[in-house]
């Protein structure tokens, strides 16, 4: 009998190890798996390589993980957003590494990683600083940059609803990177607002099929990063 459900976020993230590469879903505050990130903060793993579009805001969630000094390197497209000071400060102090990737290239690299595609060519960034040192190649008279697929040890994502088998649906633009991150991680860990019986999600509307999900935890009323940042909450 398939049972992917864990009792607590702490159980679900217990084996994340020092130096692991961790994909974290969310775009800004939308879709950010706050409870899983906080469990990872409590858990203690360090020297993490974290992939997220941003670097978190305020002093909760991803920003708090960075603030605790647990992230050695960020792979992202936009490390500074309104209310984001933790990463920029650490970066200026030379305390954290940054791999800056154009947003579409980041999404495609993650999907490629999940799809067993080691590399692909993209027109994005040709002729710019972000293409420096990268292989280029011309197809049909246009120049492209070769980019590598990106895989990870773990993915932490949030969804609206999961069924017992691990089929997921999301909530509006909180979907963002999570479906491709679920594809690209060896172990995908999901926090769901609710976990329902198999069959309670219409097979036609499943966004992330269960094959991409390894662990789930129900977090009934998840914290909202944007509200926490607005009220200056810090974690822990």
């Amino acid at each position: 009998m398939i049972n992917k459900q864990h009792d607590t976020p702490a159980d679900a993230v217990a084996d994340i190890f020092d130096g692991a590469t961790v994909l974290i879903g969310g775009f800004g505050a939308a879709g950010s798996p706050i409870e899983l990130i906080h469990a990872l903060i409590d858990q203690g793993a360090s020297d993490l390589i974290v992939v997220n579009n941003n670097t978190g805001s305020g002093h909760v969630g991803l920003a708090a993980l960075i603030e605790q000094g647990r992230v050695a390197k960020m792979i992202c497209s936009f490390p500074r957003t309104a209310g984001s000071t933790v990463f920029p400060d650490k970066y200026q102090a030379g305390e954290i590494e940054l791999e800056l990737v154009p947003q579409g290239t980041l999404a495609e690299r993650i999907r490629a990683g999940g799809a067993g595609i080691p590399a692909f060519y993209t027109p994005t960034s040709v002729g710019t600083e972000l293409a420096q040192g990268k292989e280029t190649r011309t197809f049909d008279g246009r120049e492209y940059v070769m980019e590598y697929g990106l895989t990870a040890d773990f993915a932490l994502i949030k969804c609206l609803r999961a069924d017992r088998l691990g089929n997921l649906i999301y909530n509006k633009t909180a979907r963002n990177f999570s479906p491709v991150m679920a594809m690209a991680a060896k172990t995908t860990i999901v926090q769901a607002d609710s976990i329902v019986a198999a069959g309670d999600i219409d097979p036609e509307v499943v966004v992330t099929p269960a094959v991409f999900v390894n662990r789930m935890v129900e977090v009934g009323e998840p914290l909202q990063e944007s509200a926490m940042v607005a009220s200056s909450v810090s974690y822990p």
């Binding site: 775009f27 800004g28 505050a29 939308a30 879709g31 579009n53 497209s77 936009f78 490390p79 500074r80 957003t81 309104a82 990463f87 920029p88 970066y91 200026q92 940054l98 800056l100 990737v101 154009p102 947003q103 579409g104 290239t105 980041l106 999404a107 495609e108 993650i110 999907r111 993209t122 027109p123 994005t124 960034s125 040709v126 002729g127 710019t128 600083e129 972000l130 999301y170 909530n171 509006k172 633009t173 909180a174 979907r175 963002n176 990177f177 999570s178 479906p179 491709v180 966004v207 909202q224 990063e225 944007s226 509200a227």
Partner: protein, 221 residues
Amino acid sequence: MSNTSQEVLGWERADIALNIALDIPDGSIVNLGIGIPEMVAACIPADREVIFHTENGLLGMGPPPDPDSEDPELINAGKRHITAIQGAAYFHHADSFVMIRGGHIDLCVLGAMEVSENGDLANWSMGSDDAAPAVGGAMDLVAGVENIVVATMHCTRKGRPKLVRSCSYPLTGIGVVRRIYTDLAIMDVSAQSLEVIRLAPGIDFDYVQQRTEAELTIKTA
């Protein structure tokens, strides 16, 4: 023509947005950058149906919500609260950039730090070494959307021209800009120069050229 009169001459920011909106054909799929570009949405004439794409996973972005009905899980690429129109669709980030990179978006309106006379765009980095650089989807948009237009004030706040012979800031893309809408003029990027197709009311060609490092010409039909 003194510097101090610059604020009152030419178009306002809202006029720039309106000029762009009036040029968008009915039925277009459009992606809007941050700043003046995002003001375009509200300026589309009522008899045209224009669909807005936001790269974080929504086709059919609607106007901002009432402050009391904001949804933290419904935001645009600029991280602002938005709504979704009737007939919208949500999708994940990889699919969203299939739309962009694959050439499925008709028009993208972006801000600029600099545009060169051959259409190079610099709008993502000041090139300083200590601040964390941030690129977002800008490079994907200019690489994937065929019709890239820029909405910008003609000069920086300090009066430095933004339309230059060659960009000094790090590039977002090479030869990607098609048309430039500023407070002083509307210009097409051609092989040789920036061709002025319209001047703001009360502004003459020389006035614009004096505030432009790139070479300007008058577009002839």
